[in-house]
């Protein structure tokens, strides 16, 4: 495990949605990673893992952060002054692309789209991207995915009617109703209940597929 401690300065903070921000941190020269991997931000009393959303060749490191109500860590990140320093370790995790002849299906809920954004920015193309959110406002990096994906499906599970070209329902409903039978490489990133439901569905409907998972808490 990579325990070397790096330091990076906060360069920029932007709002992606009402409850999601993206931070840009200066990149230590010797730090390298593969798309899909995480860094671990260190604080005096706690640490949090965040997937990188930039491409490996980019000059800054970018993190997609869901603002948790009363969450100490995300609140601190939201308030941190531009120029302040963060310590982190990494890269961590094994949620990286494993090239094969099988079509890749990326399934995300909420900020679980982050590692897939990094893969797309690194040049990955032709994948199917299913992004499950409650409302269209929560769709992250949709322009990027529309460009890079062979098929990009926004799955809107809330009560509001989905806009044109969006699917009304959870990602599992889309997979049951619309995803053609076959053998795929599934990459799942998001809440544990989504991962569980999708895995069960894969076992039933898409046997012999490969499944790679990353749980976002």
């Amino acid at each position: 495990m990579n325990q070397q401690i790096y330091s990076g300065k906060l360069l920029q903070r932007s709002h992606l949605s009402a409850d999601t921000i993206e931070l840009a941190i200066s990149r230590p020269r010797q730090f390298t990673f593969q798309p899909g991997q995480r860094i671990r931000l260190l604080d005096r009393f706690q640490e949090r893992d965040y997937s990188l959303v930039n491409a490996p060749a980019d000059r800054s490191l970018r993190l997609c952060i869901r603002l948790v109500p009363k969450g100490r860590f995300s609140t601190k990140l939201r308030a941190a002054a531009i120029g302040s320093c963060f310590e982190f370790t990494g890269p961590h995790g094994h949620f990286v692309l494993r090239p094969s002849g099988r079509p890749a299906v990326f399934v995300a809920t909420g900020t679980g789209a982050a590692p897939f954004a990094s893969m797309a920015r690194a040049g990955e193309r032709g994948f199917t991207m299913l992004h499950g959110v409650r409302s269209a406002e929560g769709l992250l990096y949709s322009d990027l995915f529309r460009t890079a994906a062979g098929a990009y499906v926004a799955c809107i599970s809330g009560k509001t009617s989905p806009a044109a070209r969006m699917f009304g329902g959870r990602v599992t409903a889309y997979m049951e109703q619309k995803l053609a039978p076959g053998v795929y490489d599934f990459y799942l990133c998001g809440r544990s209940d989504m991962v569980r439901d999708v895995i069960w569905l894969i076992d039933e409907r898409f046997p012999n597929s490969r499944v790679y998972t990353e749980i976002f808490f």
Partner: protein, 189 residues
Amino acid sequence: MKIYTGGGDRGKTGLFSGERVAKCNLQVETYGDVDELNSTLGSLSAALPEGWTDIDGQLRLVQADLFHIGAWLAITPAARTNATLEEFTAERVLFLEKTIDAMEEQLPALSAFILPGGHASAAAAHVSRAVCRRAERRVVALMEQSDAKKLPASWQQLLRYLNRLSDYLFVLARFCNHRTGVEEPLWKP
């Protein structure tokens, strides 16, 4: 923080290389044995007398190695999924060999078969040794059913490691009895 997804509630689990397999799959059984071995090392560590930081430190390193081994055993040989996994190298076998040699220098020569037992830590080391041998047998069975041409180099090294680890645990059991002054139980046929 939830540690469960429930994805395995229906009897299947996912290998590190992505395949969904039954939980009684030989590969799962194999890394399950390595996990069991690792857990017995935790018990062994807890049974060490106060202040044995040298041995406790060795056991921590072995436990980390077993985590690494478990990850390798969760990859099917043909899968190209080791891009982020460090090779398991012969260096780890050398670490065990040096540790065995250092302990053996302090022990009296063996003059008879010994029975597993003695001090609580020695008895625990023997349990670990037996579980280690089972894990090793499972790895051999797994290799037997795999295409020899596709076996990762790390599998060859981890097999050597498990073989040497059994030896380490045997010597450690003797060392625990020796250092605590507990007489080794000898086999009297």
